[in-house]
Amino acid sequence: MFSKKMVMIIGVVFLIAVNMVVIFVTSTRQATSESGGVAISLIAPFQAAVTNSIGFVKDTWRHYFYLVTVSRENDHLKTKLSLANEKNDRLNEVVRSNFRLRKLLNFQETIASETLAAEVIGKDPSLWYKTIGIDKGAEDGVRMGLPVVTPEGVVGQVIQVSDSYAKVMLIINYISGVDVLVQRTRARGIIKGSAEKGCRLEYVLRKHDVRTDDVIISSGLDGVFPKGQRVGRVSAVLKRKAGVFQEITVIPYVDFEKLEEVLVVTNPPELPMMDEQ
């Protein structure tokens, strides 16, 4: 009834359809397969070895061959340090008065403090997805969903864990979403990854006042990132004539291209609503 060619064409179309369905199904689920963790455990030691070797060569270059600019940089840093110390003293006063006020009003402690340092051993092989591999895993206390930060700001969230390694989805990934606030006006939005080097702050209503250089911090309301963690600064704001929301571009504080060490927060905050229940 059907020629061999027709059967082959129908077969190929069927295989393509099945393939697309499988990819769609896997893309809507979190990666929890044991086999994926085994694959990471196979490759990660080689990644760690190469990354450490590159780090050693870079360190040798920086510390022994690149001293020409060190002295200039030293003077510049000393000036910055003295300004930072002055600012730090003023902020210490703010912290003390904040503590007193919170104590008076009986506020709950919101900042998580237990962190685990980890090194970045590899990056996502794809250009379209932004993840990193770190050298800490389940044996070190890392679990799925834990937030990852640096002193500069928020980095991402753990999405897959093996015994000794883990995969972290960065906040600049397209499918990442971080609940944030504009520090100055407390306007709320969601940070998402962007094709350009940065993020978009979405779902901020037009009525909210957001300006260039505004600081974006985590709201703590997603139950992932501790409240008040720095995320980025606003680089552009666009209010179109039509539309409910503003278009805001945010430059993250963390330089993801030079990321070498991160901190995994091992006791993230719980959602306030969960406590009340």
């Binding site: 393939n19 694959a39 990056k123 996502d124 092989p125 250009l127 379209w128 397209y174 499918i175």
Partner: protein
């Protein structure tokens, strides 16, 4: 012996792609290094050598990446069988066909990734950046992909010669 050689080669390509290339801003938009290997396997190696390598390292890439699981395996499997289909009626050592096939493989992979974004209703909103990234990848693929395949052919010749030498000596290395 050949299988070990391909496993080591693929492993080196994965390590280079995930640890060395991301460190350099010159290779911001670089193509998937396993695509030339997949094309090479489809063009020049028998099924029992090519298929396991393509499947295994597609699985490894899916595990290392944040992409939906199965995207890399799908891309590499389709590309592998496409390459095997092409070789049945075209002369594959042609220096025009090879870069074209590698570039087509890179384009296929990117289209699959963008298709996944479409299904998930997410992904890059800036079309200009998308086209720029794909364009740069195709440029690198046409330039470096063919060189990589020629290197693989050269190394394969050395491996075959080494095996023949040991076979003659009676070492039984296979």
């Amino acid at each position: 012996m050949n299988l070990i050689y391909y496993i080591v080669t693929a492993l080196c390509l994965v390590i280079i792609q995930t640890t060395i290339l991301p460190d350099s801003s010159l290779f911001d938009n670089f193509f998937d290094l396993l695509i030339p290997l997949t094309v090479y396997m489809g063009f020049f190696r028998p099924f029992h050598e090519g298929a396991p390598i393509v499947l295994f390292f597609g699985f490894i890439m899916d595990s290392l990446s944040g992409a939906p699981f199965g995207l890399y395996i799908s891309t590499h499997v389709w590309l592998y069988f496409g390459a095997r289909g092409i070789r049945s009626f075209l002369h594959v050592r042609n220096y025009v066909l090879m870069p074209l096939t590698i570039a087509a493989g890179v384009l296929l992979e990117n289209l699959l990734f963008l298709g996944a974004f479409f299904f998930l209703k997410t992904g890059p909103a800036e079309k200009g950046a998308v086209f720029h990234s794909i364009g740069v990848q195709l440029f690198w693929a046409a330039l470096m992909g063919t060189l990589l395949n020629l290197l693989l052919l050269r190394f394969q010749t050395w491996v075959d010669q080494w095996r023949k030498m040991h076979a003659r000596r009676g070492d039984g290395v296979g």
